[in-house]
Symmetry: D2
Subunit: 353 residues, 4 copies
């Protein structure tokens, strides 16, 4: 295993760390999905591919499931487990990100993982999401193994998240330059309470001319970076949203439907071949696997009329997570990195940025 | 207004009152949707068409909405309001049943009804569902008025429900004989608690040869009743399910998806032109229109693992409601009634019935 | 009837007519939905409300239906007819836009319209879409009548479309300033063929601080215009897309799902109360109401792999249609117009615009 | 590999071969899904589990995809590939049936299968569907391997289909007795043309008291067979429908939505834990993987108004396929077979059967 994930190239860092500010809502302390208490991320990074695992909440999510909702913008993708999430409104495993052809074996490993921890379980719904890293990775070699899943799970930690060409992001290309993993978060206030919503994306979509950074049409103003593949505006993106706001499955699906609006601000148009999926969950109101006696639950839930700030948070965090993926990703396999200095030069030429 | 609804022909009565018993679950005391406390039904019956109003729960459902879920089996229909029900998970008006071409004006009247009771309201989602009574009713005459809606609402009562050719059921034809309004209910027990689930249908689907009564292929064994229109297996059916079990919108949609299984047992196959819609709601856990402060709700909800008996109740109650519509409906406009005695003769020829 | 729709205030004109250029695709000659041959638009404009009718294709769309697809971003809205469109994949009436409380009576009038033209028809699915103009219009007065629908239909014409505070757009507010009707179009090429895709929006969503114009965060840079209501980021938007590309219903739904990405670029986040619906149709491959003999159709359809440019067209045309609504709308009822000169000043301060 | 699949116990045979006749439509010559020309089925049967592969059409379905539609009655299941089928309207691999915990590895093997045959392919959407055979099979042992998939694919043949405890049906339990694979078909005529629609089910749902055979409430009349597990009415069922009628994806989803109506006639109510999925496809109008030049397709399609008989065929074939699974399955792992003679005794006691 090739492991640059513990030390992202110092020169590459998230957009906000370049001193640019924008948007309406403020990030959490890490500006990462791990700002939501209990969310953990682990990467296994190979030379040209990898696996990322996300533990959606503290403890065993099979025994104490998390409420979840889904948005499918373009189902040209091989996502595993989403239909059951839509039906039952819960996620019951860690979430694994990988490449298109590895979904089956990652799901299989995730089953092993849950069986090992739960001796009586005979049914489990692994959630695995993917993008196609075949422009960098020799994807037909099937270089990802179930062992990578177990290792990524064991590496899951709170705290800062390695971004860019890490984990499943290793071979991803977005807007014709290196994409991959990005993350961001937002805080919202609702009367007396405040909540944190974090996004983590696996960005593999869009072509260079489409790229917009904070509204600046970078892709039309700057030449395509050398080596940047002139691909059609295809690819894919996985968008994950975690929140500690107390929402049920229906409400989380509403939150999930806003993530594509954040993606749209970076320029992509969800091309035909772009498998664009969103999964949102809440760490509040865990759902027990074992039926309680009496079989009743008493969640506390936000009234729908209070959802507006969470929708805005989903949009902003998704947009910034994508930009962070680009800003953080070093060149891999001949695909160039985003020319951050050139982009910042343009961005700063806007009187308001 | 022509008003036979207060006195259904004595000779015509629900199937169970003929001494036949079947099924796994027991009905409530009325064997009607009104067994669910607070549900009320009102009919306005014209010669060949009509309107039925259902108040889904006690009090003002705009101010205290009911959780609701939808199943669309065949959306060849003009149902109003269902998309918002799916999004927000609530019904906020009485439910009106009418004929296909009357949906607009009934929705308009329902808006008036809510505005009159709520002086500050500027947005309301009327729920109106329909079948096409054009085989009996000169539907192009547009014989239903908004006034009929107001009157049906004012006639809403608890207690027994007039079935058959009453209200919106006046002009409906099912299985080639007179159809219309039917209702039934089931009791279920879940550990210490027990709940009531009621169905009310507006039955206008199927053709005679398809008819099955308690598994007996009546339509293949008995000749088509004289005057029974040889129609294609089209038509439509609206299936309403009320329950006092504490369910959220996602769970109610799961319940709603079982109603077509009850319909299937009566023989229909949801023909191309058959607009088949299900709306299920719970009278528990009312959702306030005004955002509370703090904006939090604390519903009590059944664990999904306890839903099984409610699914069975939805199937059984829907099946029986359809049969009751047929058993209760007198002949209208040349469409014959179900030949109940002949049907019972066949049914009783089964050694087990 | 108050009728400014024939002469929009000369000083107010679409964004592109101010000499700004942007985007990847070129508009059609009118930069309007009417660039799609056969599409017609008619407005009836009252002082503070109105109705807009769109004829989706030449001739009688009941007898020769148009293939259509739907995207529901936020179903907090009272749209009529969409479920049947999703089931059967066709629109069979003109499309009517109006205010929230007028949907029922507009649907009723649309039924009359189709019955009058089709003597044997007994079932019709009126498509009516709405936004809430209650911030300007005394919506509880119910100032729209069925007669307005008939008049709007009779006024439908090809050619330039009156934008802004016209027709159903009369009382709409978007981003805290006057919104309403906007339109735009894009041309795409696919191998030998080229197609036109047009958008028409009824824009009533978003709040001033959210507004982005061509990527410039106008709403954060300019003070809220005097009189602009400090509303929550709610409202609604209806997005219509017409194309002459030969697509089936499934493909049109895919196109429809891209319209929200165009909306997102203008800053809105689809707030809780914002009923955001998209309807897309194709003028190719009309579907006959009467079953042919034999019952077969032989459409010519684009291969899905060729859809990418149409997705981009949907995004760009929707974005521009929204901006055109703002640029064209004069002040109404105390809601100020977009301060176009200030906005243009900012936009032009970007070195690339 | 344990291989009884080549020789089902002679005494056990499909229901119709016992001389009972019913229904409105006639079967094809094999009364099997393989009556649809080009459909092939292959089983690999282990002692307590297995794999079934279905080739949906002649030739390479990756290069020439089949139009397909999905119905999800209860998504408590781990089905792979269905979301992309819904988006693109096509199936591009053979369909594999297996147990719940084997989906990942079967999907992985199916990827290998397609990659091997298509040297340039880097993305493929394997369709794998499952039920839980954990009542007979020690499912946690993970006894299914990718090799089983390759072998099942290599065994795919036209002609009669081994039913009951064969292939993936090996460990399945339905209505408290041995379930598994069942199949049936129906012919329909539409003006000049006639079509064949076949069903193949993997039946693992329902409890004994629910069982209805041709309307006879067998499960209430006969004691639970010795050894029949008193399970809750859970389980699962996969329903596949193949047709040679020329339908597009939207129409096939409409057909798929009728399969649960056939299931309902056998008594099941789609319990909470029952993952009930339907996949329907047409062998007409193959969709090329490579974009043609120009990128246009010219399918011939049935008009929707001609779909009615296909809906009835889906209902009847699904019902009979389930009954055939029960009639054909021998006892496995202590789960008794359906007591066919007792059931037939009851069925024949009905004067009409």
């Amino acid at each position: 295993v090739f492991s640059p994930e513990s030390a992202p190239e110092p020169a590459r860092r998230p957009l906000r760390e370049h001193g640019v500010t924008w948007g309406h809502l403020l990030p959490g302390p890490l500006n990462a999905i791990t700002d939501v208490a209990g969310v953990q991320v682990g990467h296994v990074t190979h030379r040209h591919t990898g696996v990322t695992a996300i533990r959606p909440a503290p403890g065993d999510v099979f025994q104490a499931k998390v409420a979840a909702g889904v948005c499918v913008l373009n189902a040209f993708g091989k996502a595993a487990g989403l239909l059951q999430v839509m039906e039952l409104g819960t996620v019951e495993t860690p979430i694994v990100l990988c490449n298109t052809l590895a979904v089956g074996r990652c799901a299989d490993a995730l089953v092993d993982h849950v069986l090992a921890a739960n001796p009586d379980v005979r049914s489990v719904n692994p959630v695995v999401l993917e993008c196609n890293d075949g422009r960098i990775n020799d994807i037909r070699r099937r270089g990802v193994s179930g062992e990578d899943v177990h290792r990524a799970l064991s590496l899951c930690v709170s705290g800062p998240v390695a971004q860019g060409a890490a984990g499943a992001g290793r071979g991803m290309v977005a807007y014709g330059v290196k994409g991959g993993i990005g993350t961001a978060s937002r805080r919202t206030t609702h009367a007396a309470a405040s909540y944190t919503t974090g996004a983590l994306v696996l960005a593999n979509m869009g072509d260079w001319p489409q790229l917009q950074v904070l509204g600046v049409p970078v892709g039309r103003l700057l030449p395509r970076p050398q080596g940047g593949a002139a691909t059609p505006p295809e690819g894919s993106i996985i968008m994950l949203l975690a929140t500690d706001a107390p929402l049920d499955a229906r409400q989380l699906a509403r939150v999930a439907r806003r993530a594509p609006l954040g993606m749209a601000r970076t320029g992509a148009t969800a091309g035909h071949g772009s498998g664009d999926f969103v999964l949102a969950w809440s760490t509040a109101n865990r759902v027990p696997n074992d039926t309680p006696s009496p079989p009743l639950l008493t969640p506390t839930l936000l009234h729908d009329a209070a959802l507006g700030p969470l929708f805005a948070a989903a949009v902003e965090a998704t947009e910034e997570a994508i930009l962070n993926a680009l800003c953080c990703a070093e060149p891999v396999g001949g695909v160039p990195a985003l020319p951050v200095e050139d982009v910042l030069g343009l961005v700063r030429s806007a009187p308001w940025l």
